[in-house]
Subunit: 151 residues, 2 copies
Amino acid sequence: MTAKYFWEDFPVGDKRLCGPVTVSAEEIIDFALKFDPQDFHIDAELAKHSRFGSLIASGWHVCAMAMRLVCDGFMLETAGLGSPGVDKVRWKQPVRPGDSLSLRALVLSARRSESRPEVGLVHWHWDITNQLGQSIAEIESTGMIRCRSTA
Amino acid sequence: MTAKYFWEDFPVGDKRLCGPVTVSAEEIIDFALKFDPQDFHIDAELAKHSRFGSLIASGWHVCAMAMRLVCDGFMLETAGLGSPGVDKVRWKQPVRPGDSLSLRALVLSARRSESRPEVGLVHWHWDITNQLGQSIAEIESTGMIRCRSTA
């Protein structure tokens, strides 16, 4: 991949819209059977009697879908170098089969690495919304991105 | 499921060991093709020339594996009610094909919900280690768990 975006392309306040992507019951169950096989993520009938009232996606599935939205939105065209971590994840509303998710990535802060001047850090707020415009999750994450110039 | 563990079973200082589970190149690629298709997660040849030197698992895949370790370790036998979120994720070392991951869940704090006395909250520190005993990731998460008694 030849990168199109570098660290300099993500100044404070930069906003990027990603998605939407729709999630099916099959995808919810497939993820949960592998990684989070609690009743309300894998069994539609038992989920009806849970406090959620229907099958809902694992919170980690929501995070993974958010990552895919970011990848398709801009990260696959960005000189990304991975991430040291995430500062906050809030699962605010259940994600149900048929929900369609969009993501807004807002740059909260950006700085060059002190030890590696060719690397920049970007601190994002990702707001994930459903087809009704409800915010269903928020993630604050840090990304390392190669700089276009080391100046 | 009839729950074996309730909120009262997770006092501050409670430690539970989960795993190990081994991750294959196929699983790393399968997850990443769906959710995080960056070169160093999906293409072993390109990954060799990345800063990581080999294929590595998506950080979100590591989180999903951690959740599965917790599920198999105790959560599937616990009266869990979901989670409002995660306060911190740190990806400290790459996870490579063949790595075997274990997890230690330590209860940092626990309290009853003020609005719903039948619900308790547990704040955990999850430390995920590889087969060499190296800590590869840390997660601080909050779980909601039904109480055995509302007293």
